[in-house]
């Protein structure tokens, strides 16, 4: 994957991230059930997006480093 594609993917992911943690995007995940890994659904949802954010940032950085040599 090129760095350009990775950055686009990153910006897309973060746009989606912005939507799904605010109203109304967060509504389907605003309740506590079911518990996922011991956490209420809304709590897990927020943590999941932190991890997704981390992964896409790692991808952006690794493609940039490869292209910069």
């Amino acid at each position: 994957m090129t760095h350009r594609t990775a950055v686009r993917l990153g910006i897309g992911t973060f746009a989606l991230y912005t939507f799904v943690v605010h109203w109304p995007g967060v509504l389907p995940f605003s309740g506590p059930r079911p518990l996922v890994l011991g956490l209420p659904l809304n709590f897990f949802w927020v943590v999941l997006w932190i991890v997704l954010g981390l992964l896409v940032l790692l991808l952006m950085e690794s493609t940039r480093r490869r292209e910069d040599g």
């Binding site: 605010h22 309740g31 518990l35 956490l39 809304n42 709590f43």
Partner: protein
């Protein structure tokens, strides 16, 4: 030996170590402004990572966050959500600001903005707004230190003395070491606070409920209203979606713009350092998870703390933890408070001189550094006095500061990304946005849909910036003016 004496001992060792690290680090940079404010642009990945993490995670993370989880339930999730969203712009903005800083000698945010939009009024407005936001934020850090000391020593160390001890250490190393001391103490403090958070966050729910899952099962059965978004408001009534979403958005927009954090772009050794710091930042964000768990663990606990901000120390003391663990928590919370407070104090003093005074009066390099040190003392003193006489909830203080900081975002983005923006447009937006933000802060009942005053200010700010710039016949030159004093433009080699 009594438990509180052991705790005080552990904290004493921590404070001494922080002081030593700070003083040693300060000896490594040059004596000019570039050394004091921008550490000669020599921060590597390790120091940048902890500086950014330590600066963003303050006493609020250790006390206010669990306090929210305890009293307002999942409303606290907004704190988890905004951090990663808010740091992303720095991946693009940070290296750009750093490059401009290197080529034009900028060491503060306002210098960068006025480099593009030359205006002394703009510079002074930036300085005033920044300091207006910093003072409550520094107070918050000091209150945090006072609360921790007071709670874990069973009242033997009063609030005023705890805050004075922790901030005495901070003021000394900031005075003598500048931003370099801030950086290296933050590395040390970051390690201490992360270790403390994870140990406590896993241990306490296990001890009380046999695990995180069983804990939430019980809360769901007994206090279900706490676990449904958007949680509760300060009065214990259901919070509104307008307030939850706009508080989150306002915090996310403000995060990368906070001047003490933004200025750290000028301290980085390379652009790659800044980008990697952003990439690793979510790992810092995750350490809020165990802290919120401790707050939730307090919900069904049989005794209540004196106020929600005390929930974490309360849980630690009431669950009969070994004194050494209590000491570790105490050091972690102090580290969180101090690693933000030092950057704020240093930032406030640098900004007051560089942006508030230097555009009007020519001050020579050595004198400038001396004046900054004088200001570190006076701003620290003012915040301390306010923190001790006026004790407000930690979160209230933080939320009020974000409304102001948001207004600095349009000028910064316009300077870097919008060629057609003009000085008048930026000024009109900044003034209009700030007035609106302050108005709604003072009259919260008038906010439409409960929307955060920072966002309401931003709407006006951006509208004015765009329209006034379009109508302005005096097109701003798209170029950048370097900072006048030659001392800024050249970075001397590290001695």
């Amino acid at each position: 030996m009594e438990a509180w004496q052991i705790v005080t001992g552990v904290v004493g060792v921590y404070l001494a170590a922080a002081l030593a690290v700070g003083l040693l680090a300060g000896r490594r940079v040059t004596h000019g402004v570039a050394g004091y404010v921008a550490a000669d642009r020599q921060f590597g990945l390790l120091s940048m990572y902890f500086v950014v993490g330590g600066t963003v995670f303050s006493a609020f993370a250790f006390l206010g966050g669990p306090g929210w989880a305890y009293s307002r339930g999942v409303a606290a999730l907004y704190i988890l959500s905004y951090g990663v969203l808010g740091i992303l712009p720095w991946y693009f903005l940070g290296p750009r600001a750093a490059a401009l800083g290197r080529s034009h000698g900028y060491v503060t945010q306002a210098q960068l903005v006025t480099g593009r939009f030359p205006s002394r009024l703009l510079s002074v407005l930036f300085a005033l707004l920044t300091i207006a936001a910093f003072v409550p934020y520094i107070m918050l850090q000091m209150s945090g230190a006072g609360i921790v000391f007071n709670a874990v020593t069973a009242g033997y160390v009063p609030f005023w003395l705890g805050a004075a001890l922790a901030y005495g250490v901070v003021v000394i190393y900031v005075l003598f070491g500048g931003v370099s001391a801030v950086g290296w103490t933050n590395v040390f403090q970051g390690v201490v606070m992360m270790a403390a958070a994870w140990i406590l966050g896993i241990y306490i729910p296990n001890l009380l409920y046999g695990g995180v899952g069983p804990m939430f099962e019980r809360i769901m059965a007994e206090r279900p209203e706490l676990l449904t978004l958007p949680g509760l408001d300060a009065a214990g009534q259901p919070w509104s979606w307008g307030a939850y979403s706009s508080t989150l958005l306002s915090s996310a927009i403000g995060l990368a713009i906070w001047p003490h954090l933004f200025m750290k772009a000028f301290t980085a050794r390379s652009d790659a350092t800044i980008r990697r710091t952003v990439v690793l930042f979510p790992t810092f964000q995750l350490f809020l998870v165990p802290l919120l768990l401790v707050g939730f663990a307090g919900v069904l606990f049989h005794t209540a703390p004196p106020s929600a901000d005390f929930i974490l120390p309360h849980m630690i003391l009431e669950t009969g933890m070994p004194a050494l663990v209590v000491g570790l928590f105490c050091a972690g919370a102090l580290a969180a408070s101090m690693s933000t407070g030092d950057a704020l104090l240093h930032g406030a003093a640098s900004i007051a001189i560089e942006d508030g005074i230097a555009p009007f009066v020519r001050i020579e390099e050595r004198r400038r550094r001396f004046l900054m040190q004088l200001l570190v003392l006076s701003i620290g003193g003012l915040a301390y006095w306010l923190a001790v006489i006026e004790q407000r909830s930690l979160v209230w203080l933080l939320v009020s500061a974000y409304g102001i900081i948001d207004q600095l975002a349009p000028p910064v983005y316009a300077a870097i990304y919008w060629k057609r923006a003009t000085t008048r447009g930026v000024l009109a937006g900044l003034i209009g946005g700030s007035v609106v933000s302050i108005f709604f802060f003072l009259n919260p009942a008038l906010r439409p849909w409960d929307i955060h005053e920072g966002i309401l200010g931003l709407i006006v700010n951006v509208a004015l910036l765009v329209n006034v710039s379009r109508l302005d016949r005096r097109r701003a030159a798209a170029g950048w003016t370097p900072v006048e004093s030659s001392a800024h433009a050249t970075v001397e080699p590290v001695s």
